[in-house]
C-alpha cells in the first residue's frame, strides 16, 4: 500500500496544474481545484470548456499532459485502478447496456465490483430507485428520466466515496431533475462527495460550491455568493416597451459589458459602475422604461466571465 487511505483527509479531490491537449489544442489549461469531502461541487461552463475532460482525468480515463494531484488520497497518475474502485462515474451519454434489462445492468456492475450478493444488491437498488415492476424492462426502452435514475443508481450501487456526474440532468424534465437533486443531497449527507457538471444555473445554486470553467481555464470558484460577490458586476434590470431596440442600442456602449434579455426584462451589466451609469443615463429618462439596480444573477456573472475570457484567451 503506497498511499494513505483517503479517510484521514477531508479533501476528496486535490489537483494542481492539470493540462490536457488533443491534437495540439489545449482543452484544459493549468487547472487546480480542491473539493472537500461530503460536499456537492458544481462544475459549470459552456460546451467544450473542458468539464468532461477534467472529470475524465480525475477518474483515470484520461492521462493529464502535465499537473498532478490526488483523488481520494490516491495519485491520479499512478493509482488509477484504486481510484476506479472508489469512484462512481456517470457519463454524459447514457452508457449502460441498452440491450440488458434494468436488473441485468445492475447485477453486472455489482459483480464487476465484486459485491458478494449481486442479485440482492440489484434488487435493493431497484426498490430504492422506484423501478420495481420494471426490473425486466430493457434499459434502452426506459424514458429519459428513468434512464438517468438508473444510471445514477448504477454508479452509486458499489457504495463509492466519490461520484462524478457529467451533465446528469441534460434533457430531463423538471420534476425528475428535482428528484435527482434531492437524491444527490441525501447521498452527500451520507458522506459521499459529488462533483457534478451542469449547464443549469438553478442547479449551480443547489451546490455547496461551484467552479466555473471556460476555454479550459478555471475562472471562478467558491460558494455561489462568493462567486457573485467577486465578480463586482453591477446589473440593472429593465422592463418596458421595445426592449429589443434598447438591447441593440446599448450593446457595445462604454461601460456596458453585457446586455441580455430575461423573459420580459433586460439585464444590463457592467464591471465599471460609473461608466455604466453614465452610458445608460439618457435611457433612464424614458418613461416607458423602468430601471432597477440589483444583484447580478449567477448567469449574468458566468456569461460576463465567459465573454471576458473569450477576449483574453482566444
Amino acid at each position: 500500500m503506497t498511499a494513505m487511505p483517503a479517510s484521514t483527509s477531508d479533501i476528496a479531490i486535490d489537483v494542481r496544474g492539470l493540462s490536457k491537449s488533443f491534437d495540439g489544442r489545449e482543452v484544459v489549461h493549468d487547472l487546480s481545484m480542491q473539493v472537500k469531502r461530503g460536499t456537492i461541487y458544481g462544475f459549470l461552463g459552456p460546451n467544450g470548456s473542458g468539464k468532461t475532460t477534467t472529470i475524465r482525468m480525475l477518474c483515470g480515463l484520461l492521462t493529464p499532459d502535465s499537473g498532478e494531484g490526488r483523488c481520494l488520497g490516491y495519485d491520479i497518475r499512478r493509482d488509477a485502478d484504486k481510484i476506479k474502485r472508489q469512484v462512481g462515474y456517470m457519463t454524459q451519454r447514457f452508457s449502460l447496456y441498452q440491450d440488458l434489462s434494468v436488473r441485468e445492468n445492475l447485477e453486472f456492475v455489482a459483480r464487476l465490483y465484486g459485491m458478494r450478493d449481486a442479485h440482492g444488491a440489484a434488487r435493493e437498488m431497484i426498490r430504492r430507485l422506484g423501478l420495481s415492476g420494471r426490473e425486466e424492462q430493457l434499459a434502452g426502452e426506459l424514458s429519459g428520466g428513468w434512464k438517468q435514475r438508473l444510471a445514477l443508481g448504477t454508479c452509486t450501487l458499489p457504495n463509492p466515496q466519490l461520484l462524478l456526474l457529467d451533465e446528469p440532468t441534460a434533457g430531463v424534465d423538471p420534476k425528475a431533475r428535482r428528484d435527482f437533486w434531492n437524491e444527490i443531497h441525501a447521498l452527500a449527507a451520507g458522506g459521499l462527495t459529488v462533483l457534478v457538471s451542469t449547464h443549469y444555473m438553478d442547479e449551480a445554486e443547489r451546490c455547496h460550491e461551484i467552479a466555473y470553467i471556460a476555454y479550459g481555464y478555471l475562472l471562478a470558484h467558491g460558494t455561489v455568493e462568493e462567486v457573485i460577490a467577486k465578480s463586482a458586476l453591477s446589473t440593472y434590470t429593465v422592463t418596458g416597451d421595445d426592449l429589443h431596440a434598447l438591447q441593440d442600442q446599448l450593446t457595445g456602449k462604454p461601460g456596458v459589458d453585457m446586455v441580455a434579455p430575461f423573459g420580459t426584462s433586460l439585464h444590463v451589466s457592467g464591471r465599471d459602475r460609473a461608466a455604466l451609469d453614465a452610458t445608460i443615463a439618457p435611457w433612464r429618462e424614458h418613461r416607458e422604461l423602468h430601471w432597477q439596480h440589483g444583484e447580478p444573477s449567477l448567469e449574468d456573472v458566468f456569461i460576463e466571465l465567459m465573454t471576458r475570457s473569450k477576449d483574453n484567451f482566444q
Binding site: G60, M90, R93, S95, L96, Q98, D241, D242, L243, H244
Partner: protein
C-alpha cells in the same frame, strides 16, 4: 421578445426545381465525403481486389509439382535408383525424406509432412530379372484428391517413358514390374471427404473472427466503453469475458458441422474424438483471440468487418482449404503457416481421415497455441485503457 412590434411574416419555402436531383446529389456528396474520411474503407477498396488477384494469380496451382515424398528403400540397386530418378524426373515428386522402416513411413504420411511415399521392396531387382513382376508401392495421401490426383494419374505413363531410356535401349512392350498406387485415407478420391473437415475450419474462422472483431468496437460505438473503463476491470478480464462465451458457441458449431458431415456425408472420424474436441477448442480460441485483436485495432464496426474479410480471404486461399498447400510457392506457404486455419486443416483432416494421434500433430498444435498466445498478447497490449 419584443412586446409591441408585430410578428414578421416569413414566406413559405417552395419546392425547388429538379428537387429529386438536388437531394440525390446532396446525398452523393455526403457519402463521398464520408467514404474519403474512412481511411480503412478506402484502403480496402484497393487492397481486397489486389490481394485476391495476386493470390489467385501467383499462389494457387491446382496441378502442383515437386510434392514432398518419402522414400523407403529396402534395397540399394541400380534399378531402384533408376526408378527413383525417373520418378523425380516426372517433376511431380520431390524426395525430402529417406526412411528405414514402415512405421516411420506411415508416420510421415499421417502427419502430413509428406504427400507421397515410395517403397521399393527387398529383392526387387532380382525379382524383375526373374520376370516375377514385383510391385513397387507408391502410397499417396489422398485426403486432398486434387493435390495427389495429377501425380497419381501421371504415374504409370510417365514412369514408363522415363524408365524406357534408362533401362531398355528399345521400346519395351510394358514395364517388367507393377506400380501399385495406393490412395490412402480416401481411396475413392471423394472430394467430399476432404471438403467437409475443411469446412469445419473455414466456417469456424469466419464466424469466430466476426464475433469478437465486433465486440470492442461495439462497446465504443454504443458509448458503453467509457463507463466500462471507469470501473475496476482489467483488459485481460475484459478479453476473457468476451472470448469465453464464444468458445462455447464455436464448440456447438463445430459439433454441428462434424455431426452433419458424419451422418449426412459419411465422413469418418478415424481418430480420437477427444483429441478432435481439444484441438478444435484450441483453434476456436485462437480465432477468437485474433478477432479480438482486430477489434482493439480498428475504429468502428465496419472496419472490423473489413479487417476480418482481409484475414479470411488468405485463410481460404492459402491454408490448403481450396487449393493444395504443397502446390503453392514457398513464400505463399510461409504466409499459410501464419494462419491458424492451415494448421487446423491439417489437424482436422488428419484426425478424421487418417486417424492421427497427438504425436503426429505436435507441430500444428504448437503452432496454433503460439498464434493464439501472440494474438492475445497483442490484444492486451493494444487495448486502450484510457480514452487518450
Amino acid at each position: 421578445m419584443s412586446v409591441t412590434s408585430p410578428p414578421k411574416h416569413r414566406s413559405e419555402i417552395p419546392e425547388p426545381r429538379f428537387g429529386f436531383w438536388r437531394r440525390s446529389y446532396a446525398m452523393v456528396v455526403k457519402e463521398f465525403i464520408q467514404l474519403r474520411r474512412d481511411r480503412v474503407s478506402f484502403a480496402m477498396i484497393v487492397i481486397i481486389p489486389v490481394m485476391q488477384l495476386l493470390l489467385f494469380g501467383f499462389a494457387i496451382n491446382t496441378t502442383p509439382r515437386n510434392l514432398p515424398t518419402a522414400v523407403l528403400l529396402q534395397e540399394d540397386s541400380d534399378l531402384a535408383r533408376s526408378i527413383l530418378k525417373a520418378l523425380e524426373n516426372t517433376s511431380y515428386f520431390h524426395f525430402t525424406r529417406e526412411v528405414h522402416d514402415v512405421a516411420e513411413f506411415d508416420d510421415l504420411l499421417t502427419s502430413g509432412k509428406v504427400l507421397f511415399g515410395v517403397e521399393i521392396p527387398r529383392g526387387f531387382e532380382r525379382a524383375v530379372r526373374r520376370g516375377d513382376y514385383p510391385a513397387l508401392l507408391v502410397a499417396a495421401d489422398a485426403t486432398d484428391p486434387v493435390a495427389a490426383g495429377s501425380a497419381m494419374s501421371a504415374l504409370g505413363v510417365v514412369v514408363q517413358t522415363a524408365l524406357a531410356h534408362d533401362l531398355f535401349a528399345g521400346d519395351p512392350p510394358s514395364l517388367p514390374f507393377e506400380i501399385r498406387a495406393h490412395a490412402r485415407y480416401n481411396p475413392a478420391a471423394s472430394s467430399r471427404l476432404n471438403i467437409v473437415p475443411g469446412l469445419v475450419g473455414t466456417i469456424l474462422t469466419m464466424t469466430m473472427l466476426i464475433f469478437t472483431a465486433l465486440s470492442v468496437t461495439r462497446e465504443v460505438e454504443r458509448g458503453t466503453m467509457e463507463s466500462l473503463l471507469s470501473m475496476p476491470i482489467k483488459p485481460v478480464e475484459i478479453m476473457f469475458g468476451k472470448i469465453l462465451p464464444y468458445v462455447l458457441v464455436g464448440f456447438i458449431q463445430a459439433a454441428l458441422i462434424i455431426g452433419i458431415g458424419v451422418l449426412l456425408f459419411g465422413v469418418p472420424v478415424r481418430g480420437s474424438l477427444v483429441m478432435l474436441t481439444l484441438l478444435s477448442t484450441l483453434f476456436i480460441t485462437a480465432n477468437l483471440s485474433i478477432g479480438y485483436t482486430f477489434s482493439t485495432i480498428v475504429q468502428n464496426q465496419l472496419q472490423a468487418m473489413q479487417l476480418s474479410m482481409m484475414f479470411f480471404l488468405p485463410s481460404i486461399l492459402l491454408s490448403g482449404f481450396m487449393f493444395p498447400f504443397m502446390g503453392m510457392p514457398v513464400w505463399a506457404q510461409y504466409i499459410g503457416e501464419g494462419l491458424p486455419l492451415t494448421h487446423y486443416l491439417r489437424i482436422v483432416r488428419a484426425i478424421m481421415l487418417k486417424g492421427a494421434t497427438l504425436h503426429n500433430l505436435e507441430y500444428d498444435s504448437l503452432a496454433l497455441l503460439a498464434l493464439m498466445v501472440l494474438a492475445m498478447t497483442i490484444a492486451v497490449t493494444r487495448f486502450r485503457r484510457t480514452l487518450d
